[in-house]
């Protein structure tokens, strides 16, 4: 999945970095503030929701645009993204094209 996104984003001209879980993502943000974060929900050590909660606490990171990727469906627990202020989410499997469009819309607006 990471490979897929990396390829598509780099082809579109974006600078891309990836980490394996929420905790590492936080560490990354503190070193180098990203312009946009794309995150899975279920990850080991710190999941997507927890990551988002941590980011909100810090005013530096609160406003970084955030996109959730999830394979969860309606039968799962209620999607908590909206409560956490994340309006953009894509449900796997998705067309990479859709991700690119979402990103460009966010960064333009």
């Amino acid at each position: 999945m990471v490979t897929l996104i990396r390829y598509n984003l780099e082809q579109a001209g974006y600078h891309f970095a990836s980490v394996k879980n929420g905790r590492l993502a936080l560490e990354f943000c503190r070193k180098e503030k990203p312009d946009l974060i794309i995150s899975d929900i279920s990850m080991p050590e710190m999941d997507g929701y927890e990551l988002r909660e941590e980011l909100i606490k810090d005013e530096n990171f609160r406003d970084i645009p955030f996109i959730f990727l999830t394979a969860k469906t309606q039968t799962d627990d209620k999607f908590r993204g909206i409560e956490l202020g994340v309006n953009h989410f894509l449900i796997k499997p998705f067309e990479p094209e859709l991700l690119l469009m979402t990103i460009s819309n966010i960064l333009k607006g």
Binding site: I5, Q11, K20, P44, T75, K92, P93, F94, E95
Partner: protein, 554 residues
């Protein structure tokens, strides 16, 4: 015409008539007829003096003859005279005037004479008044007549009383019969009720509104250690598990008057909860006020457990469906994403394209394996798999699987040791199922052992078991995960470990082993290694496959 007054005849006739009968009317008819005949009177009447209440006296007409007397002016005048109520003084002064003798119109004379102790006698003559002498002479006769009248009166009262007594007696007898009948009916009904009450398995009970037990059927001792004897009169919280239940019940009844299927828990002999379902209603007094609660309780513990089991099973099913759906989407997302990217990006280099196509290929394979595993485990769980049990030698199967995984092990430079004795240790198993078990366990060993590690396989026999052991020098399983690893889709997350598996491998192993009545043991230490040991019943032991066993029982 002056008829001669024959007093002697009169005396004689009166004496006769007085003794004739105690019937007032009859007696008076005869007596007055005599009076009138012998004294030449045309009309007569008898008035009775009654004491209405203290110092209140009235005259009551009890006899008058002939009928025409009703029109007689003199008669009416006398009645008038005697119509008011008299007190004692008035009465006495009136009596002093007696005998009251006078004339009316056309020479008609009237004589109002005292009947001492009874009342008055009125005699009306068309001719002149009777002489004082005659009046005096008949005075003893009047006294006798008075006595006779009293006797008749008494007799009448007596007769009335007697009739009343007879009537009462009859009524009493009737009522007694009715009472007997209803008592019998009650007794029958009581017997019937008692039989039901004593033997019913549900609990019937009654409490007052404050929660004191008024009555409870003996069946209560099935549910609690209390017998009926030591519960009546006690508060119902003695047997309710939750002390608030009585007020809850009361509240519900106040709203609905009668309720069904109210959940209520009792305390059983060990203080544990007994789940019951209660149907209850309020009992009202004759004014419409609620005075008691009556109900029946049924043990639904079994039903509750079944409901819980059903809920649990439903939850597990829906969890499974969620998990499967999730698991299938992930490789699918890759396949879709990469193929879409390839198709869109005309400028993609051949290298990248190859890499992506490779990923698509691997993910497709993974998806395929996943689907197969899912189907496999579904079949196993729903009991649609039949194992063909055969007496088999494990050794060639183990060797085959080891061969299949040889390359995989070599890639990680993992050394595999196995040594079998020359002795055959046969077990009763389905060969394909056994292959699956061993393949999954061995595959895990390789997966979770880092490079340059070791795996050792042993096959040995203990008293009545044949054990297959796979030990590795891998990352180990933490204590708290030891039970979880057999859960469907459970995958370990470790940094540096690629979770390529389906998470179903050990679930399948467990299902197969359960069907073979084999146990699995785990020994593990984190970062040191893990040993899985599967114990099969030795073929020398009695072990028949499920189907054979069923036949014997059936």
């Amino acid at each position: 015409m002056a008829k001669s007054i024959d007093l002697i005849q009169l005396y004689y006739e009166i004496a006769m008539s007085i003794g004739l009968t105690l019937d007032m009317n009859k007696m008076l008819k005869v007596a007055l007829t005599s009076y009138m005949k012998n004294l030449s009177c045309t009309s007569s009447a008898i008035l009775h003096l009654k004491e209405r209440s203290t110092d209140t006296f009235v005259f009551r007409r009890i006899y008058a003859t002939p009928k025409k007397i009703q029109e007689n002016g003199v008669y009416l005048k006398i009645l008038d005279l005697l119509s008011p109520t008299f007190n004692e003084n008035q009465l006495n002064s009136f009596k002093k005037k007696l005998p009251l003798i006078g004339s009316g119109h056309e020479n008609e004379s009237y004589h109002l004479l005292d009947l001492p102790g009874f009342g008055m006698l009125l005699l009306i003559r068309p001719e002149g008044e009777l002489s004082t002498q005659i009046i005096k002479s008949i005075s003893p006769l009047n006294a006798k007549l008075a006595v006779a009248c009293n006797a008749c009166l008494q007799n009448r009262e007596l007769k009335k009383a007697h009739k009343q007594a007879v009537d009462i007696n009859r009524e009493l007898r009737q009522k007694t019969l009715e009472l007997e009948k209803s008592q019998n009916a009650l007794s029958e009904s009581e017997k019937k009720f008692r039989t039901i009450f004593e033997n019913v398995q549900d609990v019937f009970y009654q409490t007052d509104l404050q929660g004191n037990i008024l009555e409870v059927s003996p069946s209560i001792s099935r549910y609690t250690e209390n017998h009926r004897g030591n519960l009546v009169g006690k508060p119902v919280t003695t047997i309710y598990h939750d002390p608030m239940d009585h007020s809850r019940l009361l509240q519900a009844l106040k709203e609905k008057k009668e309720i069904q299927d109210f959940n209520l828990q009792l305390k059983d002999k060990l203080g544990k909860q007994v789940f019951t379902s209660v149907n209850a209603h309020l009992v009202f007094d004759k004014y419409g006020n609620p005075v008691a609660i009556e109900g029946s309780m049924r043990d639904v513990t079994v039903r509750k457990h079944a409901e819980e089991a059903l809920r649990e099973s439903d939850r597990l099913k829906s969890d499974f469906v969620s998990s499967v759906s999730h698991e299938l989407r992930t490789p699918l997302a890759s396949i879709l994403g990469f193929s879409s990217t390839i198709l869109r990006d005309k400028k993609m280099t051949a290298e990248v394209k190859d890499e992506f196509i490779n990923i698509i290929y691997q993910e497709s394979q993974r998806l395929s394996k996943l689907i197969e595993d899912i189907l496999n485990i579904s079949r196993i769980e729903s009991g649609r798999v039949t194992y063909r049990m055969r007496k088999i030698d494990c050794r060639p199967i183990i060797t085959e699987i080891l061969e299949v995984h040889k390359i995989q092990a070599k890639e990680k430079n993992i050394e595999v040791f196995y040594k079998f004795s020359d002795e055959r240790h046969d077990i009763s198993a389905d060969p394909d199922a056994l292959k699956q078990v061993f393949s999954n366990l061995f595959g895990n060993a390789i997966k979770f052992t880092p490079e340059n590690g070791q795996i050792r396989v042993r096959l040995f026999k203990t008293v009545n078991k044949v054990s297959l052991e796979i030990s590795d020098t891998g990352m180990g399983i933490p204590e708290k995960e030891k039970d979880k690893i057999f859960e469907k889709f459970y995958r370990v997350y470790r940094p540096g470990l690629e979770t390529k598996g389906t998470g179903l491998g050990l679930s399948i192993v467990k299902e197969i082993l359960d069907a073979h009545k084999a146990e699995i043991e785990i020994e593990s230490e984190e970062n040191k290694g893990t040993t899985f040991r599967v114990n099969f019943l030795s073929e020398n032991m009695e072990f028949k496959s499920e189907q054979e066993t069923d036949n014997i029982i059936g």
